[in-house]
Symmetry: C2
Subunit: 141 residues, 2 copies
DNA sequence: TGTAATTCCTCTAGTCACTAGAGGTTCAAG
DNA sequence: CTTGAACCTCTAGTGACTAGAGGAATTACA
């Protein structure tokens, strides 16, 4: 049986966050001591590790909840787990592409103004002038 | 003079978001018609474009506000603008590295389970087992 | 000029995933 | 048995919006 602090130390999830997950129903309500403190078994530890891992991978809590509900699932239900993982992967790749475009632009903006300060600063100018973008990010939902 | 809807169409910033920016002090309070509707001049349009651009680049509103306050700045004040751009660039690069690591792992997780469904699904398994991570993301603040 | 559709107004509350703080109780070590 | 760390509940705040209610103004067209 572990205290909430021990769970926190073992998983890297902060104490208030563990309570938050309990509130949200992602973690089952644990046993309590006579003095009303939470005591967790190893099952809870695993479950929390699962949540942590999913969060690290960028999954929203709703997806994690869905995956959690598939524990021990067989056959077609497993497809849902795949679907979540695949969807997440697609998202991730898009985010990377997007960020790399922005990196190019930020680099340009920053470099344009190194050295002399005589002219209007490129940073301020570039931010104001959307047309000057190299990678066009003008059309975004 | 432009209505709020026109501003929205021209910048791609949603109408409620424009009002939100006004509330936050990022956009000055515009003139109003006799019927209390907002009317913007081209200055506001430019300013909103600046904000939009900054947001697209991932800047938080506080940074954008700082940049906005540097409009027309000279000499050393410009360094602050650079500093913001550079800091943002560093952040951005870290995020990209992080995401690429996760991409590797998600790809692995997803691929491990394609085909047969006889075994315990790799997605569920992998999420539960942090130790199996290739790119270690165990230590995160 | 009338009317109908569209756009606009303010306001409150909700989203996501936490985080911070107040004010108080329980536990473990010495 | 005392002290200090860890725990408890609860409320409110964060960032950057988004949604919806309920109503007023504007615009287009007949």
């Amino acid at each position: 049986m572990h205290s909430i602090g021990e769970l926190s130390r073992r998983t890297g999830v902060k104490v208030p966050t563990i309570r938050f997950y309990e509130d949200k129903g992602l973690l089952p309500k644990p046993h309590r001591t006579a003095g009303n403190q939470r005591r967790y078994d190893d099952g809870a530890l695993n479950r929390l590790q699962f949540i942590r891992h999913g969060r690290d991978l960028g999954l929203p809590l709703t997806d994690i909840e869905a995956l959690l509900s598939l524990e021990g699932a067989q056959g077609p239900d497993l497809d849902r787990a795949h679907e979540i993982a695949e969807r997440q992967l697609i998202d991730l790749r898009q985010r990377i592409v997007q960020l790399r475009r922005l990196e190019v632009e930020l680099t340009r903006i920053s470099a344009d103004c190194d050295g002399t300060h005589d002219h209007v600063c490129a940073v301020l100018h570039a931010f104001g002038n959307h047309n000057a973008c190299l990678g066009s990010h003008a059309a975004k939902s």
